[in-house]
């Protein structure tokens, strides 16, 4: 077994031996259901698809993804196990990858567990299941991006609360980057090209594009690059902590 797999396995196990996993899954599923039916007007729209369900995901992840990622490194630093882990024969990028994969798989599991909604729309009508699959993929990629941000910020601090709040701040900025209000604000201050650059950073835009069923390579690359960049930043943070 490689160190990446050993770490991912340990992380996943630790989610499930503590109440963390169950509390998270229950809250995730309940919130996903409530938001879809009440805030998303699932029935009133009269369309058999999961658009209202996916539309809520950015906001759902905004709260729940930092809750998963906050402990990733902060807990190890606080409990002293960081010293144990990083003096085992493992490279920083392997450790980071193992932890990230565990969290990402866990959120993937949470997504899979929303399958009753998928069954429901298929019972109610005949939705385009390709679009739904794209929605799930986009949602999972977005979850990965949030978790990668959280992984990096969790490496910065020993405090899980600080990691949670920082992650939420960064995520909210990335979600809102493409909103007209935010862009209007930048219009006055930045050249046009930079403003459209800011708009390109918007998580919401790329996610909504995928969730509509349009699998554009640029949107996929956006999420994969976001994940990669934040994980690399996290590795850098861990490396700098050894020097500091």
């Amino acid at each position: 077994m490689t160190p990446v797999m050993a770490i991912a396995r340990r992380e996943l196990r630790s989610y499930f031996v503590t109440p963390m996993a169950y509390v998270f899954l229950v809250i995730f599923l309940v919130l996903a259901g409530i938001l879809t039916f009440y805030a998303g007007d699932f029935y009133e729209r009269g369309v058999a698809d999961l658009q209202p369900f996916f539309a809520m995901h950015p906001w759902l992840y905004l709260i729940l993804a930092p809750a998963v990622s906050m402990r990733m490194w902060a807990e190890e630093a606080k409990g002293g196990t960081l010293e144990l882990l990083l003096t085992l024969p493992v490279n920083l990028h392997e450790a980071m990858l193992g932890k990230f994969l565990a969290a990402w798989l866990f959120l993937g599991l949470a997504l899979v567990l929303t399958f009753p909604l998928w069954l429901t729309v298929n019972y109610l009508g005949s939705p385009d299941n390709g679009v739904i699959l794209a929605g799930y993929l986009g949602s999972w990629l977005m979850a990965g991006a949030f978790l990668a941000i959280g992984a990096c910020l969790s490496a910065l601090t020993q405090s899980q609360v600080v990691a949670f709040i920082l992650t939420m701040m960064v995520c909210v900025l990335l979600i809102l980057a493409g909103q007209p209000q935010v862009l209007d604000f930048f219009h006055g201050a930045l050249p046009r090209k930079l403003v459209s650059g800011v708009a390109q950073l918007s998580m919401l835009r790329h996610f909504e594009a995928i969730a509509r069923g349009v699998l554009d390579v640029r949107d996929l690359v956006y999420f994969l690059l976001t994940i990669l960049a934040w994980l690399l930043a996290g590795i850098l943070v861990l490396d700098l902590k050894r020097v500091r």
């Binding site: 077994m1 797999m5 396995r9 630790s14 024969p89």
Partner: protein, 312 residues
């Protein structure tokens, strides 16, 4: 083999470890001795690769810990200060995790696992979460984790801290048994441990190396080395005569129990002359002792800088 070459670590303006050069060979138990805050843990963290040196190098089995960190860590078993462990894991899960991280093959691994569990007497707690263990048990789990891959180099940060006397004895026996072909570096501030375990001692304080010697050599630096002590009531005249012996440098009487200690001049042997004199005086001496030297006194002199260095 552990070698450090002018290993240095600064935190801002504070120099925690200052140009430390030490060397531990296979078969050696090297004790890193120093008061709290002397830089023992920082030095070990650098050797283990958890902290990067500000300058200088450290090598484990020839692997530079900065250039070949994974190779160096593979050769190393390390017990960090306080024996940290993942609290929610059971002892069995924890040890298996460490073995997976170290890439131990399943068949070889099983034998190692059973061997280590037996050596540290962990059979009864294998299914207990680490959080529920006593301090002594946690330390044993930490030791098991450090030796599970049978490393050629072992580094233990205060391995007996928090253990009761029986557990201390057991851990020392374990270290002793493993010492033969391995290089072992332990840090401690317990002087008894140096006697019981180490065949070489490095004393550091404020990050600097102050002495590198065998325990016996250190004892020789003590002014008690070669001194003779005895208890004899009513020996006032004898004391005066002892003071006039040519080999004797001085006499001290313990104000509490009246025990008399006779100090030799440098290099002199005084047991025989003292015994002869006491016999001539017809004094009843129930017991007479030749002192080896007192490590605690030497330690204090060296680490507080009271000029013991010159007496070596």
């Amino acid at each position: 083999m552990i070698e450090t070459d002018r290993l240095t670590r600064c935190y801002g303006h504070l120099t925690a470890v200052d140009a430390l050069s030490i060397r531990a060979e296979p078969g050696q138990v090297l004790g890193l001795l120093g008061p709290n805050g002397a830089g023992k843990t920082t030095a070990m963290r650098m050797i283990a690769g958890f902290l990067a040196p500000t300058s200088g190098t450290a090598r484990v089995c020839g692997h530079d810990v900065a250039r070949e960190p994974v190779a160096a860590r593979r050769a190393l078993g390390y017990l960090p200060e306080g024996a940290p462990g993942y609290g929610e894991m059971t002892v069995r899960e924890f040890l298996l995790f460490i073995m997976r991280m170290r890439g131990l093959a399943v068949d070889l691994g099983r034998r190692r696992f059973e061997d280590v569990v037996a050596r540290l007497e962990l059979e009864d707690v294998l299914e207990s979460p680490i959080d529920t263990l006593s301090k002594g048990l946690r330390r044993r789990v930490g030791l098991a984790q450090a030796i599970v891959h049978d490393p050629p180099v072992l580094m233990l940060d205060e391995p007996t801290d928090g253990l009761d006397p029986n557990q201390k004895h057991a851990v020392r026996q374990l270290i002793d048994a493993m010492a033969r072909e391995r290089t072992i570096l332990i840090s401690t501030h317990l002087l008894e441990e140096v006697h019981a375990l180490c065949n070489r001692v490095v004393i550091i304080a404020r990050g600097r190396l102050l002495a590198d010697a065998t325990p016996a050599e250190l004892e020789q630096r003590s002014r008690y080395h070669g001194a003779v002590s005895f208890s004899a009531p009513g020996s006032g005249i004898a004391q005066e005569m002892l003071g006039r012996l040519p080999q004797v440098a001085g006499i001290e009487v313990d104000p509490l129990d009246g025990r008399i200690t006779v100090f030799p001049k440098p290099g002199a042997r005084i047991l025989e002359p003292v015994e002869n004199l006491l016999r001539q005086q017809g004094l009843e001496v129930s017991e007479i002792q030749l002192e080896r030297g007192r490590l605690d006194e030497v330690f204090r002199q060296i680490t507080t800088g009271n000029g013991a260095e010159g007496r070596a």
